[in-house]
Amino acid sequence: MTVTILAFGIAKDIFGASSIDIELPADALASDLKLLLEDKYPRLKQIRSYLLAVNNEYANDDLVLDSRDEIAVIPPVSGG
């Protein structure tokens, strides 16, 4: 399945785009996506930390992804 990943802050700089498409096996977990992204974009491993958000909620690593999900990479936030 193809999923679209939204990127913000430094993640947008790392991807070179505000969204990217990634090919994932069906029933992939959030942790699978993280590994794939880190493999494709090694600079992700150099930032302090990052989380995935799925459908506007912070996602645990064991969350099963669906092609209809809205997925975003959330680097360390710095509002305020």
């Binding site: 802050g9 430094i10 947008k12 930032i47 302090r48 506007n56 936030v77 710095s78 509002g79 305020g80």
Partner: protein
Amino acid sequence: MSPSCGGIDVFIGTVRDATKGKQVLRLEFEAYEKMAVSEMQKLADRAMQQWPVQKVVIHHRTGVLQVGEVPVVIAVAAAHRDAAFEACRFLIDTLKQTVPIWKKEVFEDGEVWVSATP
């Protein structure tokens, strides 16, 4: 504002002209807007559960802000000031940790996403 409130505590965040002694020219804010709004709603709900507060406002700007401008305003109304101060402090502290908003500091000689790298 409600007649049963005895005070409103307001936190106003302003753009500072320096970070760690280095001059900041401006800040650039970016948000994952839909999620930022839902996370701010969650914070307001938590504050209202945790303290006897009656009204909460959280406002955050995005885009380019110059030194002295106001990126964030939080206001909390309560019957008594202790609850208002505590809830206001909780809201700004937690906003900075959980709400998907990012700030880029722009210097004379470059720019950096705040907190992004170790």
